[in-house]
Symmetry: C2
Subunit: 136 residues, 2 copies
């Protein structure tokens, strides 16, 4: 599930959801996630590319949600993180002389897609607003 990146993205977005129209700095976000600010900026860059947040440069700058938390699905977050990281998966090179080895990647890809779809359908049922309501 690409746990690491997804966790960071959700964490960032939850903080932004709770901050409303405030601009939060990458330094501040990094402080809560407890990772390096540059990593946060990279993930922000990705989330921005995917239309989930907007950023303001310069003094008093930072990031905020691009749209209401009610309109952001956790599956949107998943897709954003997945896109950037899942391209060019299949690292394994099974033996092409074996009837199983020759075909297995095709069948595995299909299986993974189906399994992933089931997961995404689930993530599709929760908005960022729902998720961030869980915090006191």
């Amino acid at each position: 599930m690409n746990n690491g990146r997804f966790s960071i993205a959700i964490h960032i977005l939850t903080l932004l959801a709770r901050a409303g129209d405030e601009w939060l700095s990458s330094e501040y976000l990094a402080g809560s996630v407890n990772i390096n600010p540059v990593l946060v900026r990279k993930e922000i860059s990705n989330l921005r590319r995917n239309g989930l947040i907007i950023s303001k440069e310069g003094k008093n700058g930072g990031s905020r949600l691009a749209k209401p938390a009610e309109k952001i699905l956790l599956s949107d977050v998943y897709q954003a993180v997945r896109q950037a990281s899942l391209l060019g998966q299949n690292k394994n090179n099974p033996n092409p002389d074996c009837p199983v080895g020759r075909q297995i990647n095709t069948h595995l890809d299909q299986l993974y897609l189906e399994a992933e779809n089931a997961m995404v359908t689930k993530l599709n049922q929760t908005t960022l607003a729902d998720f961030s309501k869980k915090f006191a």
Copy 2:
């Protein structure tokens, strides 16, 4: 989804499913998967622990399915691989002084569990026999 291990496990099991009551050596299996035999033996060791295959030591030894492929669900394979690798996940240490950081792991764990369940439910619908029928 712990892609690598799962792929290897499915590959091995598919080969065993097609081999019927023959004992296949780790060397042979490794040849089709195209990885080191020791890795295969490690995965076999895990699958055996989970009751999916049995092995025979010594000359003419090897491995075979512990039960008919019809009775092995892909979710069984997933669970076997997951167990061995997912223990002690949560590597991130969010800031405990932040209301979000303090609670996020709990909520993320729950979310992952739900998402994973959706996936497992899907994997639950395919047997190893179904999967291996796909090969010519």
